[in-house]
């Protein structure tokens, strides 16, 4: 037997296999593509709606609104001031509209990721079986190169916003699922026993004890999800998502150094703003742990 060459499948067989799978998938796309697009259409409506609000309103109102939101989350003047300066600079260098598109995109992706992630995390914390099944799926979602799952997404939805959102959510949802699961599992057993001893139902324990105690951890998940959504902005621009990613892509293709750096820095600025704001919020949720009896 020859151990130098791997005993691989015949070339013809491999080609036939590929063609068979590709044809089947193309068939599936033709048959159900339209239906799937219909199902996911509301995402497009929501995204366009938010984008329009951010772009069509007077910039000063948008700036004030964002500053107010950051204040509500962080209660820190420093972070709010940093936000205002960063956004003014972004506007001055002509990146206002692209930045608004990116913020809208990240907002929608985060919303969807939270809506999927928290219930999934709860499910995993509740049933070990679900945990066993979902963990490998999450591992795959986080390690599979995003270009690989862009292929079927683009085949079904074509180029545009919706496939962009789907690709970003696939990439950004695992941390919130994992951290929701972790947060609930970390609730001390004696506290759960106390809840049970007082006759709490499963739902009451979840709502009154497990979720509130897991919330700081869940917020860390939301923070990670936002960061990962922003990281995907450039990749998403390859399938037609407009925003700060597109000029970066253009800069790569044409070797426009300054254009690339400016838009890159704008992405970094937004990332830092959202990171600091959500972290400050997470910290505020843990107030009850801070004041320790001396």
């Amino acid at each position: 037997m020859d151990f130098v060459d791997f005993p691989e499948m015949g070339r013809a067989d491999l080609r036939a296999l590929r063609i068979a799978i590709d044809t089947a998938f193309r068939g599936f796309t033709r048959a159900y593509g339209e239906t799937l697009e219909q199902i996911f259409h509301p995402i497009q409506i929501l995204l366009v709606f938010i984008e329009n609000i951010l772009i069509d309103s007077p910039w000063i109102l948008v700036l004030a609104g964002l500053a107010l939101m950051i204040w509500a989350l962080s209660r820190s003047w420093k972070i709010v001031l940093g936000t205002i300066i960063a956004l003014l600079l972004i506007g001055y260098f002509g990146m206002w509209e692209d930045t608004m598109r990116t913020i809208a995109m990240v907002a929608v992706c985060t919303l969807i990721a939270v809506a999927i992630g928290i219930p999934t995390g709860i499910l995993m914390a509740r049933f070990n079986r679900a945990n066993q099944i979902i963990i490998p799926v999450l591992d795959m979602m986080q390690t599979m190169p995003s270009f690989v799952y862009l292929i079927p997404v683009v085949m079904i939805f074509g180029l545009g916003k919706v496939p962009g959102v789907i690709a970003v959510v696939i990439y950004a949802v695992p941390p919130i699922i994992r951290l929701t699961n972790l947060g609930i599992r970390q609730v001390p057993a004696d506290v759960l026993e106390a809840a049970a001893a007082f006759g709490s139902s499963g739902g009451q324990t979840l709502k009154d004890v497990q979720l509130p105690l897991a919330l700081p951890t869940i917020m860390a998940g939301v923070n990670q999800t936002i960061m990962m959504s922003l990281a995907m902005v450039v990749v998403a621009s390859m399938i037609g998502v407009r925003g700060l990613g597109q000029p970066v892509l253009q800069a790569i293709n044409n070797q426009y150094f300054t254009l690339g750096v400016m838009n890159g820095l704008a992405i970094v600025a937004i990332a830092i703003i959202f990171d600091r704001a959500t972290q400050a919020y997470g910290k505020r949720l843990q107030k009850h742990l801070e004041a320790v009896h001396g």
């Binding site: 106390a194 007082f198 006759g199 009154d208 509130p212 105690l213 801070e290 320790v292």
Partner: protein, 357 residues
Amino acid sequence: MDETTEATHDIDIRNLYKIFGPNAAAHIDNVKAGMTKEELNAKHNHVLGLENINLTIPAGRIQVVMGLSGSGKSTLIRHINRLIDPTSGEVVFDKQDVVKMSPTELREFRRSKTAMVFQKFALFPHRTVLENTVYGLKIRGVSDKECQERARRWISRVGLEGFEDNYPNQLSGGMQQRVGLARALTNDPEILLMDEAFSALDPLIRTDMQSVLLGLQAELRKTIVFITHDLDEALRLGDKIAILRDGRIIQQGTGEQIVLRPADDYISSFVHDVKRGNVITVRTITRKGQRADTPITLPYDTLLEEAARAMTNAEVNRANVTGTDGTHLGMITLSKTVAEMIAPDTSDDDTADVMTA
């Protein structure tokens, strides 16, 4: 004080067995037929947690269950509200077997009849003192207004007025356990389950909390099941004491019965260091029918220490003892009183009226 529910039903624990392990039910017949804990562990890798527990917990009294760690006392108390399911046996309260309750019935039973206080407090860290205290009522759907009224009453009753809006982390251990007690009492349960409730507190605070509990109990008359590993605590609190070892009850009775007649060497070694004068009453050393010429007259349930003090203060060495109805019962001597306080008296005194366990 506003109205609270007095306990009116005993808790009857009958033939209770608990085996820990994945296949517990398969081994229950062997254990009932006499397989020992060691054999079960060696041959089948299952742990015998409780073995044939029979205990009647009287309504409105404090039942102490005492034992060292690993004796099964925490397992036993968790069978009363079925936080742990038994392998076999019954726990009857008000003609209902807790073991056979459906999940809904069990939840209702836990909500309305029982409340629990934990060794490590187990307060909800994200809720303030007030929010912790209302928890039991809130999940029953009691209105906010009533929750708050009842909770505030108990918070002030346990001495935490002014701390309603603090988080548990901001309080000392003793204060946290007061919150635990207020949280339990706000539920107005008939049964109060206290799992080593004071064990995590330092000695002074512990004595303080025991006084708080005894003060409340004098008024409330709840059925209290109190778990402890501390004999002094058991003797101070318990109307009845059951001693648990290796999952079996090896003796039960009043504190006095246990101190006077320890069932085996194991219990003797425990009882050895007890301040006997605080546990034993004069009835055990009364010479029946004899009368002394002395100004001191004591009721039969006077503790030896008090009797000795009364005689010493009056500078006499004899005292008359009266019975339940106040009639003359007999007399005691100071020397016998002191002797009985110091060590187990094995001298032959055929006139002493020793109670039988």
